[in-house]
Point group: C2
Chain length 170, copies 2
């Protein structure tokens, strides 16, 4: 059996978004145990000009639903960036997982050599579907998931690499 583009997209997004949702559960429990407002964590960032945790989670979902939509050839669903609580962010993650798993795998697979044009720094850039996934979508997706983990870790949460890698699909 050959490798397909859907093998290397949807299940990765599902794995890591599920982990991210679990990290948010641990953040909620941490806030409760420490008697701090969960907003303190959601507004936390590693540097003044970096995005805070809530935005990192939104961007992680954007880099799942956006790339999958572009591979399939549909407009990405628009989620207004209005989440202000852990439960709302978890809902956004769940919605994203449900969206990407609902896409037709065969259409994703067929996009391997399709041109995908995106705008980078104001300039249109065209990639083959598989290059777009491998070299733009996944690096950006992983960036925001890892940054969310880093912010929580830097805030003192007792989480480890296993919480990040999560459950590996069989």
């Amino acid at each position: 059996m050959a490798t397909t583009l859907s093998d290397l997209s949807v299940p990765i997004f599902v794995q890591m978004l599920t982990s991210l949702s679990g990290l948010l559960d641990k953040a909620a429990a941490f806030a409760e145990a420490k008697k701090v407002d969960p907003k303190v964590l959601l507004d936390s960032r590693l540097a003044p000009d970096m995005f805070a945790l809530a935005r990192q989670v939104q961007l992680a979902t954007d880099f799942a639903k956006g790339p999958c939509s572009r591979l399939v050839g549909i407009d990405p669903p628009k989620y207004p960036d209005v989440e202000t609580s852990i439960s709302e962010l978890k809902e956004r993650i769940a919605k994203t997982i449900s969206f990407v798993t609902g896409l037709d795998k065969a259409v994703i697979d067929a996009a391997a050599d399709k041109d995908v044009t995106i705008t980078v720094a104001g300039q249109p850039m065209t990639f083959k579907g598989k290059a777009y996934l491998a070299h733009m979508a996944l690096p950006n997706f992983y960036f925001h998931v890892t940054m969310a983990y880093a912010i929580l870790r830097e805030n003192g949460l007792d989480i480890g690499k296993r919480d990040y890698v999560g459950k590996v699909p069989a």
Copy 2:
């Protein structure tokens, strides 16, 4: 043209390790401009029980050479973890890039459905090659590259997402 496992492994490692090497150049320039010992950056970490920058760089290379070796079916080259300077870490990155680009792509491609057994938390776990790459190797690889970026960013380096994503292969 179908998707192959080599499409979704070696060029990703090369892209991101090249970025990482560029981040280390910026770290060296930053240390010089601020008149601080580069060791301060290499020893910097986000939390007391997280790895420092130098170790994150070593682990990023390990999660490139290790997975590629396992897919090909050879023992990963052993690099002693002795780097104490930016130039030594850059050398390790260069050696890793040269190693993974020297592997036979056809052998990597053929590993998509080969069993790969690794030890996770003391237990052997067996995956098909493509699942191992997608669900274990890449999440771990991206974790350490992003963490290196996060440590530098938190130290005040003027770097951005473009430094992280780097040069996308044509």
